[in-house]
């Protein structure tokens, strides 16, 4: 990263994330560089599959417990609560909602993403542990949908995050979403859902795209 770029980022950096000095309880000065001290510096790695039956077993296990991050990013999130209600009961398919990214394996992008949300979504995605998958709901994630000419929503999600499954519909019904989960399971079992590895591999490309539109990037480049 060039110095100029670094300065560019510093301009937006939140005050608490800038390098600063803290006075300790005994009066000693502690110099803090939050970006280095508080955040992990390791970049994501491509995880090679295990060999043979072990990988198959792991994939089966991964497919049958899809924990979804409860992050309603767009209007599609109105169909997520019914999915977990008694009528559609996604739990019986091994799909459950989790409140924090650290426990979740599936990120549902439920529709459009404004630039402001995209920033949070990227952060949430990067905080999630491997194996992780992204499901995109609705037209908006494919080619802008309803908001194709809006100044504040992205048009193509695949430019910013690796997407494993797209579900058509505006918004998709719970039944649709369930078949999306089934398809995702199939892909995982076949070992095709390699979104996370793709993200690790092409991290520079993704980051460049993300930074192009998030003009006040005030967080570490990659943080998990």
């Amino acid at each position: 990263m060039s110095d100029k770029q670094q300065n560019q980022e510093d301009k937006f950096l939140a005050p608490e994330n800038r390098k600063h000095t803290v006075i300790g309880p005994e009066g000693e000065e502690i110099h803090v560089d939050p970006l280095n001290d508080y955040f992990c510096q390791d970049l994501p790695k491509v995880e090679a599959p295990y060999k043979g039956i072990l990988e198959k077993f792991l994939n089966w296990a991964r497919a049958e417990s899809l924990w979804v991050l409860a992050f309603g990013t767009g209007c599609g999130s109105i169909e997520l609560p019914p999915l977990f209600s008694p009528r559609f009961d996604a739990y019986r398919f091994g799909v459950a909602m989790r409140p924090t990214p650290r426990q979740s394996g599936v990120l549902i992008i439920s529709g459009y993403l404004s630039v402001k949300t995209l920033k949070r979504v990227i952060r949430s995605y990067e905080q999630m542990q491997n194996p992780k998958y992204v499901i995109a709901l609705g037209s908006c994630t494919i080619n802008g949908g309803m908001y194709w000419d809006s100044y504040n929503t992205i048009n193509r999600l695949d430019q910013y995050l690796p997407v494993d499954i797209y579900i058509a519909g505006y918004m998709p019904r719970p039944e649709s979403i369930l078949s999306g989960f089934n398809k995702l399971k199939e892909r995982i079992k076949n070992g095709d859902a390699e979104g996370a590895n793709d993200y690790a591999e092409k991290l520079d490309w993704y980051k460049a795209n993300q930074k192009k539109i998030i003009k006040d990037w005030n967080m570490p480049s990659y943080n998990w």
């Binding site: 630039v115 194709w148 000419d149 100044y151 048009n155 193509r156 192009k212 539109i213």
Partner: protein, 175 residues
């Protein structure tokens, strides 16, 4: 209703008085007289609710219109007051001292139209946008489609034909 209009006519330079299709009385007033007028309506005539504070960009006239719609809950009546201000360095007196939640409206208008309301709480903080570095988006000279195409670029692979043009190409290309 007539009394209030007559009263206002006497005290303030109001013009363009007319009734909207939904029974809303709309009138225009000079920007300088707005706050005294709203104060008088609020304290003396029971117009205690600020329903909406909205801005309209009349690009062709080089003017911004600010519409204050206030409501009298006892008489169940709405009064719309329009103010026209110039588009260059647009600035308007803040009314957050009359209605506290006017600050939210003013903050949004500042961000979306670039009309400044000096003194309004948190008016300079971004409200809906983050890291915005272009024209205020609600101004009519900001082209949202162009911006979207340049920034978020649509998925390629689409092409369309105008039926009339296409038929010309196919049926009578040389005429």
């Amino acid at each position: 209703m007539k009394e209030i209009i007559d009263h206002l006519k006497k005290r303030f330079p109001v013009y363009e008085i007319g009734e909207g299709p939904n029974g809303v009385i709309l009138m225009s007033v000079e920007a300088a007289k707005l706050v005294p007028m709203l104060t008088s309506l609020k304290t003396n005539h029971g117009y205690g609710i600020l329903v909406i504070l909205s801005a309209v960009d009349w690009l062709e006239d080089c003017k911004f219109q600010l519409t204050y719609i206030i409501n009298n809950p006892d008489e169940k009546r709405d009064l719309g007051i329009r103010v026209f201000i110039k588009r260059e360095d647009a600035e308007m007196e803040s009314i957050h001292s009359l209605w506290e939640h006017a600050a939210t409206f003013q903050r949004e208008i500042k961000e979306m139209f670039g009309i400044n309301f000096p003194g309004s709480p948190r008016v300079d903080e971004p409200f809906l946008l983050e890291g915005w570095d272009n024209l205020p988006p609600m101004r009519r000279d900001f082209d949202t489609k162009q911006y979207s195409e340049d920034t978020y670029f649509p998925r390629p692979g689409r092409e369309t034909n105008d039926p009339a043009e296409y038929m010309k190409q196919k049926l009578y290309p040389d005429e």
